[in-house]
Each structure stands twice: as C-alpha cells, then as structure tokens.
Amino acid sequence: MCAKYDTIIGLEVHAELSTKTKAFCTCDASFGGDPNTHICPVCTGQPGALPIINHEAVNYAIRAGLAFGCEINRYTRFDRKNYFYPDLPKAFQISQLDLPLCVNGKIELSTGTTVRIHQIHLEEDAGKMVHDDYHGQSWADYNRCSVPLIEIVSEPDITSAEEAAEFVSKIALYLKYLNVCDAKMQEGSIRADVNVSLKPAGSPVLGDRAEIKNLNSFRSIQRAIECEIERQTQILDEGGKVVQETRRFDDATGTTSSLRSKENANDYRYFPEPDIMAISFTDADIEKAKSEIPLLPHERANKYVNEYKLTDEDARVLTLEKYISDFYDETVAIYPEYKSVANMFLTEVMRRVKETDTEEIPVTAADFAKVCEMADKNTVNRNDAKTIIRFMFEEGGDPMEIAKANNFIVEEDLGAINDFIDNLFAERQDLVDDYKNGKTSVFGFFMGQANRGLQGKATPKSIKECLEAKLKNL
C-alpha cells in the first residue's frame, strides 16, 4: 500500500437467496436446468403477467439484515429499475430504492475495521445470455430470471483489498450459516461491485471513484482492487485526475478497463412498483424473524468451548465453514463424545476435505460417529480407525465391514487379560492392600495401566469386567 494516499473502498455485494421458488413467481429457483425450463409467463415478462411477492425471500432478507445488525424498515416498498437488456424480459428489474428492507448494519473485520452497512434490499436477478460468436448469435436463458437476490451495500469504510476480500467472505459465511444463500461463487450466487477511490493521506476530501462491476470470486475482488489502486496511484502520481466511471476487470490479464463513463450512465427512472403493495411489519413480525435466526459462526464456536469444552482453536477451525460445523454437530448428536470426535475430525477429516474444492464430505456423520466410537472403545485400535476413515473416503463402505475385511477387530483373549491383571496385582501388592482396606479409588490406576498394557488386544469394557471380577474375589 502506498502511504501517500488513503484508499477508500465501498462494496455492493449481491447474493442469490436459496429460496425454493423465484422472487415474484412460483418457478423453481434452483441453479442450472436446461435453458428456459424454469420459466413462466411472469418471469419471462409476458404481456399482462403480474409479479407476486415471495414472502420466503422477504424473510430471508430480513434474517440477513438482523444477522448484520440492521434495523428493519417497518414499511418497505419495491421500485422498478428501468433499462433495456435482452436478459431482462420486462426491461425493468424489480428492486428497492428508498425504502429498502434493512438499513444501518455493520460487520466487524479482523483488522479492527468496522464496516457500516448502508442498506440491504431485495431484488430479482436477470437471465443469462449465451453468445455463439461463431454463428454471431446470442441466446437468452431465463431460468435465472427473477431468482431473488439481496444487495448488501456498504459504506466506504474499507481501506484495503484484503479487507474487501474479508468483508465479502464474511458475508458469504454468515449467509451460509443463516441458510439463506449457498454462497457458491462458481455458480455466481455471490457477486460484488466495488467502488475504489484514493485521496491524499489524511485529506478529508474524497477523490473521484471508479466502480468495478461484477466480480465473482474472493480472489478477483482482491486482485481487481489491487490493480485499480495501482492504476489510480499512477494517475495521481503523474498529476492526473481519476475519471468517475464504471470499469470491468479482466481476470486473465489482471487489468481493469473502462466500461462506460458517468455521462453515459443509465438513467434508471426508478419509480414505485405499482403491481406490488408496500409491506408493513409489526414488532411481532421482527421478533419472530429474530427467533428464526440459527446460531452464527462465533455463536457456534462459543458453544463448542463452553458446552463441549473444546479449545478455542479447535472451535475456531470447526466453524470456519458451515458444512464442517454441520457435520461435526451431526456426529456429536449421534455420539456425544465431543472432544474425541473433534480430535478425530480435525486430524483425519479436515485434511481430506481441504484437498477437494467441493463442500461435500463423502462420509455420513453416522458412519463417522461409528468409527470414533470403535476407536474409543478399542473395538479397533486408533491407527486402524484412521485407516478405516481413509478407506471410507477413498472407496466408501460401512466402517464395521471395512474393519472386519481388514482384520482390524481387536481379538479378545480373556486369558491374556487375566494374566496381565495378575501380574499387575503382583507388582503393586501395596495398592491391592489399599483396595482391600476400602480405598476403591485405586481402581482407576489399575484400569489405566491395563488399558495401556492391553491396547489393541482388549476392549476397555472387557478389561473393566475382568478387573472388577478379580477385585471382588480378592
């Protein structure tokens, strides 16, 4: 970062909501599908068709607003944003201008910066154009048309490219925890526009800003900002003036280029959408929405530390991704040995899921719980348990079957257990005497010794039974 200038960054983050149906009709809102199969008269803008508000989308947007500390406007309205583009069948987007659902929130970054949220509003996505350059033809796919989006508009509180990337990834993580967005950047479910301007260090006067549109990965957000800062620094260093304009980022070359100047900016002719009635919320509505907010990442981490007695670091790592945390929660719901599951998970599963890009764990929580339990009870020894997990990841299969097929099941020899205990008693006659005299707490010592000495040869359960029988018959 060049110390000569302060960098001022504001973001508009668009996140597609994962509602079942679209924002203003009842078409399937899921990603993909053959072109123009998730469409109807409403989302293709047929003459006479009218939008109907999807209240699930409204609730999702409110949930996001509440999680980011926003106030919910008790009276909210939709507006039409007018522009012509072939992927926008009505030639206007239903959005919100001056009475958005949520206002005045904030997000804290690890750098200590607080980024204020100006507003969060609900709007509809556009379709997708497919260009066939070879034949010089363009095709419109309206499947994505009218899928609900929230646009999270920040104040210009961000001071670096790293902070911008953290801001967006934090939004993505929260939206996932809120179950309102799957935040798959490769499917375009989160996109960002960034506004970048520089001013002389310490100056109160803001510089002219450039907006870079439609960035769809954390990496491209960071790179686009970095190279825009560099470009503007160079202009200012040479005594030039930054032009207020919209720019596009080319991922391949890592440069931004002008898309349109301020003079050519669209006049969107916003006006209140006459087909959708304004919505009013009561305090009870807001309270209900609050009660529906699931645990957020830091809240889950607190639970792991306070209730499950995990270390801060383990709790932090387990909550970095929602699907990881969900898997852990699911496992301990079946087998509530919190620490041992966490240890096995962090050493054996984490490493493997990190190697893949997908958010899928190819093992069920039930099977994973089973392996943890098998290791804890010494049905198999711990190293073999790890091998079982490897097999489950690589080839799949039931853990017990894998254990049997590979001769991992610990064969129990009661004779050997009894011999071991006899030897132990002989060595520590003093403690045996203590036991006879009523000091039963030495049981733990014998148990520990036997477990260690017989690891891989006997289950704790059998050892305990033999030990109890012997002590009873002293």
Binding site: G48, L50, I52, F84, A91, F271, D275
Partner: protein, 477 residues
C-alpha cells in the same frame, strides 16, 4: 336487446341452444364486418365452447353465464387465441396463458366469440389508434364509437354478442359505452384481477363489463370479481354486485359536483343528465351539491401517472421474446430501437415519451411526485364527498360521439375529453355509465354514477332503477 337473465332462461328451458345462439351471433358478426368491432373472430373455438356449454346445460349444471356468447377486448389474454392490443407489435401474439377473468368465465362455460378492436394498447378515446380493425359507431358509422374499448362497445350495441369485457384506465369502458348507447362499468380498483390484462397504467387499470343493462354488468362482475393469488393488488372482498337490485332509492343522496356541469360540457348532454337527476329526485332521492376543487388537476395528474406507468409497462416489447421484430438488425441496440419504432403507433410512442420524460432524473419530483400528491388529494376529496352523498351523478363524457378523424390530430383536445371519467380511476372508486337518450342528431348520451370504494352494488342499484323506466337507444343496423 335480450338481457342475460332472459338468455339464461331461454338456454335453460332449451328454447335455444348455445350453439344456435353462437351461430346467430357469428352470422351477425360477419354481416357487420364493416363495423370493425373485432380483430379476431374465433368461430371454431366458439362453436366448440358452445357445444360443451350445451352439454353442461343439458346436465342441469348451468352457471349464470354458461353458454353465453361474449366478446373480449383484445388486451385480455386468451390462451392460444391472439391478443393483439390492436398493435402491430402484438399482431401475431397468442398468449401462453389465460387472464384470470378468462379462467373464471371459462369455468362458467361462456362462449368467446372473438377479440374486439380498441385503441392501440388502450391508449385513446376513439379506438381509431388501432393498428388493426378500426371500429365505427353503429348509430352513425361516420362517428367514432369512443375508446379505448370501442370494439366491445360496438359489439354490444350492434347486437354482435350478448355482453363484452372492456378495460378502463381513464374511462375506456364508460366513455365508449356512453357513445354507443350501452351500459359499462368500471368496478372498484382491486375487485377484479388484472392478471392477464395487458398493462397500460397498472395503478389505474381495471377490467369491466359492457352490456345491455346494469344488471347484466352485475352478473358478469359476480363471475369475474374476487381476490386473485396472481394479482397482488387484488383485494379480498365479498361484494354481491346485484345485492341491492330492486331496493328503493328513496332518501338516498345523490351528489351533483358542480364542476361537471359547467363550461366544456355540451348543452344537450348537460340537459340530459339534469333530467336524470330530476328523475331520481321524483323517486325520493335527495340531490346535494358537492364540489371537487381538485378536478382542474385531474387530466394532468392522470396523464402523468398513466404515461409514467405505461412507459415502463411497455418496455418489455423489445423484439426479443415475442411480438414484432425488425428485419435483420445490426446490433441489439438497433434491434430494439427499430422494433419499437416500427411496431408502435404514434399515440403509443407519444405516451411512452411523456412517461419516460416524467420519470427522468431531475423531473421526477416536479411531475410524477406531484401527480402522486394530486392522487392523494383526490382520494381525500372523494372520501369527503361520499360522506355527503351515496352516489355522485355526472355526464359520462363532455360530448356525444364525434366524427372520425375530427379530434385525432389534436392530442391535448383528446386528453381533455377524458375529464368526466379519469377521476374514478385516480380515486379507485366504482363508476358506471348508463344511456340516457339521444341528442338531436340521434347520437346516444350517457350519464355516470360513482360511489365510494367497494360500494359497487349501490351504483348498479341506481342504474337499474333508471333502466327500469327508460330503454336504451337502439342503433339501426
């Protein structure tokens, strides 16, 4: 003219079948093609629907409109039947879905005879902005039938259908009803679903019946009204539109807004409407003078609101998805510019430009926002008026039907002629136009009754009382 109640009896008593009735109307339609009432006549579909209706009637399951042949304004979507809005833009467009009103009428088993001509995209008061059929007034074919629902008015007045649907954004049902000597009603905004009505001014548009009597209008409204999950602006209500039929009007109050009886209203029209007031008075109704000071802003506010909404409602006609597309455009920009330049007529372009201007950055506050304020004032004023009276009585139009082409080149004069009707749309209240005789040139005159929102049954009651004493004028065709 046979009214719907009589037709129902004849059909149910098997004096005539729906197929016979449909054939009669189809024959009349073809004999009177020169009237230009229809853009599309759907003979085959109509006969099929009639056969089905006859079956339903034979089974004793008839609903009030089963087997009744109706004409539908060409801006109401009919699945797989062309819905052109009388525009080159949609000349070949057959919707993939039915408007909610069509679903409801079809559920009762009506027969759709065809789609009636209109002003292009319902923009006009003469039906002469149509790019397809241009309807003529059956009382004098040199005169306009009014508009924009001119084709529907002509079809009813000339006996080409039993009843029709129109749509009313600023008087488009009531003014042509008045020009053609029939009854037409715009119900309270939100009582009838707009889903499938090709939008013009969304906050003003309402589908309404055009028929031979107020009672017929009530029968049709009872069939098509109701809250609709496809229209977020439709309201939950339980109106029986004919609930007050036959009830005495004695002691009820009729508001006479003085602004509607001043300059600019034709003398013969004024006198005819005053006679209507005297008639009601003779039955024991009380006449009270009321005032609508905001009326002078009505036309400006109406055209700003309607055109602003229209400018964005009509943006979807870009040549991409359906409708008219220019030949071999060089680029997307050219595709859209040329398609719209070639596909829309002059009046539609004029209103899109007006509306676009009114919504443009820097002008929004001066125009659109002020129009919204006027609308608010209008609503308050109407609330106050209807504290003083049950219904309001006005002329339906400042004049009778005028000669074709006489007004068409003077848009401002055309717009000003809407002054008697736009108030009901701005205020969202119900209003009905009823014929009250003819002028010296034998052209029909109409009066209008309006009431507070959701008091639709009240104006039907008053209109029915008048019609019980005075027959509609008949056209010699």
């Amino acid at each position: 003219m046979t009214n719907l109640t009589e037709l129902r009896k004849k059909l149910d008593n098997k004096e005539i079948s729906s197929v016979e009735l449909t054939k009669e109307y189809l024959k009349k339609i073809s004999e009177n093609e020169a009237l230009g009432a229809f853009n599309t006549v759907c003979e085959d579909e109509a006969l099929k629907m009639a056969e089905l209706a006859d079956k339903t009637i034979a089974e004793g399951n008839s609903a009030p409109l089963t087997g009744i042949p109706m004409a539908i304004k060409d801006n109401i979507c009919t699945k797989d039947i062309k819905t052109t809005c009388s525009s080159k833009m949609l000349a070949e467009y057959a919707p993939p879905y039915n408007a909610t009103v069509m679903e409801k009428l079809n559920a009762q088993g009506i027969v759709t005879l065809g789609k009636t001509s209109m002003d292009e995209f319902a923009m006009g008061g003469s039906s002469q902005t149509s790019a397809l059929a241009k309807p003529k007034n059956p009382f004098d074919t040199n005169c306009v039938p009014g508009g924009s629902s001119g084709g529907s008015a002509v079809a009813v007045a000339a006996g080409l259908c039993a009843a029709a649907l129109g749509s009313d954004t600023g008087g488009s049902v009531r003014q042509p009803a008045s020009f053609c000597g029939i009854t037409g009603m715009k119900p309270t905004y939100g009582t009838v679903s707009r889903y499938g009505l090709v939008a013009f001014g969304s906050s003003l548009d309402q589908i309404g019946p055009m028929a031979n009597s107020a009672q017929d209008c009530g029968i049709i409204l009872n069939a098509i009204a109701g809250q609709d999950i496809h229209d977020g602006t439709s309201r939950r209500h339980n109106i029986d539109f004919n609930a007050l039929l036959g009830q005495d009007i004695k002691g009820l109050k009729i508001g006479i807004p003085k602004e509607f009886y001043g300059d600019g209203i034709d003398g013969e029209v004024k006198n005819a409407v005053i006679k209507v007031a005297d008639f009601y008075k003779s039955l024991g109704a009380e006449l009270v003078e009321v005032s609508m000071p905001t009326l002078k802003y009505a036309i400006s506010a109406y055209y700003l609101l309607a055109c602003a909404e229209a400018s964005t409602n009509l943006s979807r006609y870009d040549g991409v998805k359906y409708g008219y597309r220019t030949e071999s455009p060089e680029s997307y920009d050219e595709l859209i510019k040329k398609s719209r330049a070639e596909g829309f007529g002059a009046e539609v372009k004029r209103r899109i430009l007006l509306g676009t201007y009114a919504l443009s950055s820097g002008y929004y506050d001066a125009y659109y926002k002020k129009a919204l304020a006027v609308r608010q004032q209008f609503r308050l004023e109407h609330d106050q008026i209807f504290e003083k009276c049950d219904v309001m009585l006005t002329p339906s139009a400042p004049t009778v039907a005028y000669g074709i082409d006489s007004n068409i080149n003077d848009p401002v004069k055309m717009y000003l002629a809407d002054v008697c009707t736009v108030t009901a749309n701005i205020a969202g209240i119900p209003a009905i136009s009823v014929p009250c005789g003819v002028n010296s040139a034998n052209m029909p005159i109409g009066f209008s009754l309006s009431a507070k929102r959701f008091d639709d049954a009240r104006i039907i009651q008053f209109a029915d009382v008048y019609e019980k004493s005075f027959a509609h004028p008949t056209a010699n065709i």
